[in-house]
């Protein structure tokens, strides 16, 4: 992934915005492996928990 820099933070921001818009799900880009620090994983889990508050069924 070129040009990522600190953009994992921008991704997380965008995902939170999706949650705020009432999304039932979000698609994560592939290739995130190298950016999955414990802090990032924790935040993704928080996002997932928020998404679960808007179940799709």
């Amino acid at each position: 992934m070129n040009n990522l820099g600190n953009d994992i933070n921008r991704l997380l921001t965008a995902l939170w915005e999706a949650v705020g818009a009432g999304a039932n799900f979000v698609e994560l880009p592939g290739g995130l492996g190298p950016y999955l620090t414990p802090a990032v994983v924790d935040e993704l889990e928080d996002i997932d928990a928020a998404l679960e508050a808007n179940p799709i069924f």
Binding site: N2, I8, A21, N24, L28, P29, L44, E45, I56
Partner: protein, 268 residues
């Protein structure tokens, strides 16, 4: 949460506890080698995702430039050349608005249904299928070329009108609804790029209101079986501007979801 799978391998361990679905993106040409010959590597890609266990599949079949050649040859030799002005990706696409092309798309859906019918109902494997029959370059079927004048002239020369486009979208969603009672249909929401033969240099105009009017009508019959999605989320999408795609989706009833704009540049 969903992860783009696309045949890239297993889900990273750190994500496994909260990934419910994977997106499997396959080319139509990799599912149907020739008319009624449903062979190709696309089926293997779907089956590989099945091996992930409990996760469900959101199936994204790429029609448009990834349709088989025999489909592109319907209504004329070869497809219609379209360039996406956004990224200059060029391909030849079928005349998707012709009933004979839509009939081929429906036959593909029939094959998908026949292969995975055992996984429907309470044991759903494929949770959702993207309505991509009217796509050109990407599975965002309200876009045509991002206002690429030459491409739109090509489409107009082949006979495309907004009435044709509207009818094609209607028929495609009707086919999904009819065939997949327990598998939802997803469609990417964007302003409709309508052909405008008298409007050089782009020969098109964009209209979000036509998209939303169409989708509201479809949802009145499909209800929660029609998932609204936008594939262009970025960290500057919000607060949603009045009259924007995001405002529409934010105000729409569920189910709905988002995808980041660029797989190579998360967050951008």
């Amino acid at each position: 949460m969903v992860r783009d799978f696309n045949g890239m391998g297993s889900i990273p361990t750190a994500l496994q506890s909260f990934i419910d679905d994977v997106v499997v993106m396959v080319n139509w040409s990799d599912l149907e080698a020739s008319d009624q010959n449903f062979t190709g590597t696309g089926w293997t890609k779907i089956d590989n995702a099945k091996s992930l266990g409990t996760v469900k599949i959101r199936l994204r079949i790429m029609a448009g430039r990834h349709a088989p050649q025999f489909v592109k040859d319907i209504g004329g030799t070869g497809g219609v050349t379209v360039t996406n002005a956004f990224d200059n990706v060029t391909g030849t696409v079928p005349r998707w608005w012709l009933p004979a092309v839509i009939a081929q798309y429906e036959e593909l859906l029939d094959e998908v249904k026949s292969r995975y019918d055992n996984y429907m109902g309470n044991n759903i494997l494929i949770r959702e299928i993207v309505a991509s029959g009217a796509m050109t370059i990407y599975a965002e079927p309200f876009f045509r070329s991002h206002n690429h004048g030459v491409s739109n002239q090509n489409l107009i020369a082949e006979g495309l009108t907004f009435a044709d486009d509207l009818a094609a979208h209607t028929d495609i969603l009707s086919a999904h609804q009819t065939k997949f009672n327990t598998i939802r249909t997803s469609i990417a929401v964007n302003p409709w790029e309508k052909m405008a033969p008298s409007s050089p240099p782009n020969y098109s105009m964009t209209s979000l209101s036509d998209t939303t009017s169409f989708l509201n009508t479809q949802r009145s019959s499909m209800g929660v079986e029609l998932v609204l999605q936008n594939n262009g989320l970025r960290d500057t999408s919000y607060p949603a501007a009045i009259g924007s795609v995001y405002e529409y989706i934010e105000g729409a009833n569920p189910p709905k979801g988002f995808q980041n704009r660029n797989h190579e540049q998360p967050g951008q």
